[in-house]
Every structure is written in C-alpha cells, then in structure tokens.
C-alpha cells in the first residue's frame, strides 16, 4: 500500500515536472519570438551592434555573418537558378580561390542556366593553368541558350572580358561576328554594333562594317530593355488591379443578390 502510494507520488511529480518544463520552454520561445520578430527591429539592431565593434574585428565579424547568411539562404534555395546565384555570392564572400572552384563547378553542373553567365565570362579565353577554359565558340553556344536582357548582358560581359585580356582584334571580331546573323531586340545592342563596325574598319573589312552599321541604325529604333521591362511591369500591375476590382464588384453583386 505504502509502495503504491510512493509510486503514485513519483508519477505525479514526474507529470508536474514535465508540465513545468514544457511551460518554461514554450513560454520562453513565444517571448523570444515576440522580441525578435517585430517589424524592422532585427537588422537595424544587428547592424548597430556591429557598428559598435572596433574596425578590425567588425570587418571580420561582418564577413562571417555575411557568409553565414548566404549559407542559410543556400539551404533554403527554392530552385537551381537561386542556388547558382547564392553559391556564387557565398564563394565570393569566402575567398577568390573558392570563387574559382565554384565557377568551375557551375560550368560542369549547370551550363544551361542563365545564372552561369559570370562563370562562363570568368573562364572565357582563360589561360591553360586556370581550372577551366571556355573558347569563344563554346561561349557563343552558351549565349544562344539565353534570351532578352540576359543575352545582351552575356554579349557585353564577354566582349569586355576579352578586351580586358587584350586579345587581338581578330579574336574580338570573331567574337562579335554572330551578331550580324542575329536580329537584335534592344536599343542597347547598338554599342556592340558600334564596336563591331570599328573593329571591321580597323581590319579593313568593309562588308562587315556596313552590315554592322545597318544593324546599329536598326537598334536605334528599338526601345531600351529597361523601358520594355517598366512597361511590362506597369501592364501587369494594371491587370492585377483590374482583376481585383472585378472580383470586388462580383462579390458586391453576390451580396446584393443575396440580400434581395
């Protein structure tokens, strides 16, 4: 009888203990979230805290925080495009060597994604001791996978990369030549055609020079990509507003008929 009483007491103590601990941890979690997740407070406090650190430590801590933020983002990446973009940013924050490694990995694993552009540009006409080397023709193949603004960006980035490497005019010309067979879709292409016509002039190739100038003039008639994007965004916003108004009117009508 006494033992039974003792066992019962133990059980009650255990139960009460569990309830107390559960209450403690759950209430603590609620209060913590309340402090942390109020509007706007978080990042400002963190940056102000970092701002109070001595400059030497601040830079290192900020770097570590940035790397950790990218790691968290990478874990939560929803698609491959996002994954590529974040991996590049993360590698860039870690070290230049890590960035080269990541670029090489992206070229091997995801050569068909527009986000791989910076990796392709990085290894475009790279020296033999680099982790990868992308030929002009391989880069053209990559450009052909792109559309719209990313395509223009790839053309421009590649061109400036080759220029920075001081490649001969012939290589630059070879790089820009496919532009003659392409129908440009943005005003910004004009500068590439200007460069092409200048190169052709220097190489004394009148035929290419004339074609490039014609296409340059055509580009002048086209709208800028930024304008097209702004128009598209405006149209989408109007469409959304219209749909919302329609929905509201329909709901109003329904409630009106219901009252009748």
């Amino acid at each position: 009888m006494n033992r039974q009483k003792k066992d019962g007491g133990m059980k009650i103590t255990l139960l009460v203990g569990t309830v107390i601990l559960f209450s403690y941890f759950s209430s603590e979690a609620v209060l913590r979230q309340f402090v942390l997740h109020r509007a706007g407070g978080q990042s400002i406090t963190l940056s102000s805290l970092l701002g109070k650190l001595p400059p030497g430590i601040r830079d290192e801590v900020t770097r570590k925080v940035t790397i950790a933020e990218y790691r968290d983002e990478l874990k939560n990446a929803k698609n491959v495009n996002e994954k590529i973009r974040i991996s590049i940013a993360l590698a860039d924050a870690i070290s230049p060597q890590e960035l080269q490694k990541t670029y090489a990995e992206i070229i091997d694993k995801y050569p068909q994604y527009p986000e791989a552009q910076s990796a392709f540009v990085n290894f475009l006409a790279a020296k033999e001791n680099a982790l990868r080397s992308i030929s002009v023709s391989r880069y053209h193949k990559f450009i052909n996978l792109l559309k719209g603004e990313p395509r223009l960006s790839a053309w421009s980035s590649g061109f400036f990369k080759l220029k920075s490497l001081n490649v001969p005019n012939k290589t630059l010309l070879e790089y820009l030549m496919p532009l003659l067979k392409m129908k440009p879709d943005g005003h910004e292409y004009a500068q590439l055609y200007v460069a092409l016509s200048e190169l052709a002039f220097q190489e004394e190739n009148q035929d290419i020079e004339l074609k490039a100038k014609k296409l340059e003039e055509y580009c002048e008639t086209l709208p800028f990509f930024s304008e097209v994007l702004a128009k598209r965004a405006k149209a989408e916003a109007q469409k959304r507003a219209g749909a919302a108004a329609k929905k509201k009117a329909a709901a109003k009508q329904q409630t009106g008929s219901g009252k009748k």
Partner: protein, 261 residues
C-alpha cells in the same frame, strides 16, 4: 496549508521591526520622486537595448516603475538570500522542523512571506508614484498604463525564488553575492542569446549559446510592452510561474537532502 500560513506569518512579522518601517518610508519617497520620470524608450539606431526589449505595442512602461522594480529586487536579494541561512545558523529551523512541518511547507511559507514583503515595498512605492504623478501633472494615470506598471511584479516571483534557491545551498553573505553574480550572468547570457538569434543560423556560435541560455532567466522579457489580450501576456505569466516552480523545486530538493545541523 495552515502550516504554510504559519511560516508565512512568522516571516512577515519581521515587518514590525523599525528597519522595515524605514524601508517602507524609503519606498514611499522613491515612489514619489520617480513619479516625474517619463516613458521608457529606446531609439532604433543607437540603443542596443532596443534589440532586447520590445516597446512598440500596448501601454508604455514608465521609467519610474522600472526604478521601483530594481529597488524591490534589491530588497528581494537581501531578504530572499538571507532568510533561510539565518534560520539555519540560529537553529530556528530546527525549532520549526521539530514540529509537524514538512521542509517543503517551510520553504513555501518562507517564499510567500518574502514575496509579501517585496510586494509591500513595491506597492507602497507604486501608490506614492501614482500620487506623485497626480500632484505633478494634475491627472490620474490611465487604467491600462497603471496595469502595465503593476504587471512588473511578475518579475518579482521568479526573482525571489531564485534568491531562495541559491540561499538553500550557501550561507547568507555568499548567497547574496552569488545571487548578484547569477543575475549579472543572466543579463549577459540573455543579451548574447537574443543577439545571436538575430544572426544567421549557420554561424557556429548559435548552437552553443542556446542550451546555455535556458539555464539563466531572461528578465528583459518582463519589460516588453504588449497587448493584454494577446498570447504574449499568457506566455509572460507562464514564464514567471514556470521559472518560479523550477527554482523552488531545486530549493526544495536541496532542503530535503540538506543536513540542518
């Protein structure tokens, strides 16, 4: 229950001493003089405390009442950390436990008695603070603002229990020193743990600090402003109650196994 009340009465009787009379006069004076202090506010960009205490919602907290609470906490340290060791040193505890009183009942009676003294101090100061506010500004403090100030007493319950838990292990002076050290540690760990929560999860320091932070109470939570009808209010009460229960359980366990001679 009667036994607990008897111990409670024995503890509260101390109030009749002249020292306690002076203490309550001091409480009244503090209350009156802090009544002119404004609302507790932290600017978003400058104060680190902004990250630890949320003051954006609900009724504001007045600085005067924060001062009153801090004074009450000092009283709680003095009485909470010294009462049990004094009883042990003076053999008073043997006299009490020689009667049919369980050690847990003794602890609970002592706890309620010290709580009553602390609340007495807090309320005397609070009443004079409200009077001072009326004299200074010619208006009464609104009901919701007054309730928010009085809710600070929630912090006193776990605080006294914490001081008593430490006093169950140590002598009176040591208990007071360790209580103060524990509070300072709690403030540091709570600050670090909350700031670390703002950092990305991948940072290696995060998993280390979190389990550690559960060993220290976070008193910053009691200074948050919130709506009385929300979940935060319930969580705060639950937090105070559960912490009190944990501290008292540890104290009871120690008293149960301690040699009182």
């Amino acid at each position: 229950m009667v036994k607990i009340l008897a111990i409670f009465e024995l503890t509260v009787k101390k109030v009749k001493e002249p020292a306690f009379f002076i203490l309550f006069v001091i409480a009244a004076l503090i209350g009156y003089f802090v009544s002119g202090m404004g609302v507790l506010k932290f600017s978003q960009n400058e104060d680190i405390l902004f990250g630890l205490v949320s003051l954006e919602q609900g009724s504001p907290l007045l600085i005067g009442f924060v001062v009153i609470l801090l004074m009450t906490m000092i009283v709680a340290i003095f009485s909470g950390a010294t009462d049990i060791p004094k009883d042990i040193d003076s053999r008073m505890i043997m006299l009490i436990l020689g009667k049919p009183v369980k050690r847990v009942e003794y602890l609970l009676g002592k706890y309620l008695g010290i709580i009553a003294i602390c609340l007495g101090f807090f309320f005397s100061a609070a009443i004079f603070a409200f009077v001072g506010h009326f004299v200074n500004y010619g208006e009464l403090v609104t009901f919701s603002v007054a309730v928010r100030q009085l809710m600070l007493i929630l912090a006193i319950f776990p605080f006294v229990a914490m001081a008593m838990m430490i006093s169950a292990y140590l002598s009176d002076i040591s208990a007071m020193i360790v209580t103060v050290a524990y509070i300072l540690f709690s403030v540091c760990i709570s600050t670090i743990s909350l700031f670390i929560d703002m950092l990305p999860r991948s940072l290696e320091a995060v998993p280390l600090i979190h389990p550690l932070s559960y060993l220290f109470p976070n008193y910053f939570y009691f200074f948050n402003s919130f709506r009385y009808t929300g979940i935060v209010m319930i969580a705060l009460i639950l937090y105070a109650v559960s912490m009190t229960a944990i501290f008292l359980s540890i104290a009871a366990f120690r008293l149960e196994h301690r040699d009182m001679l």
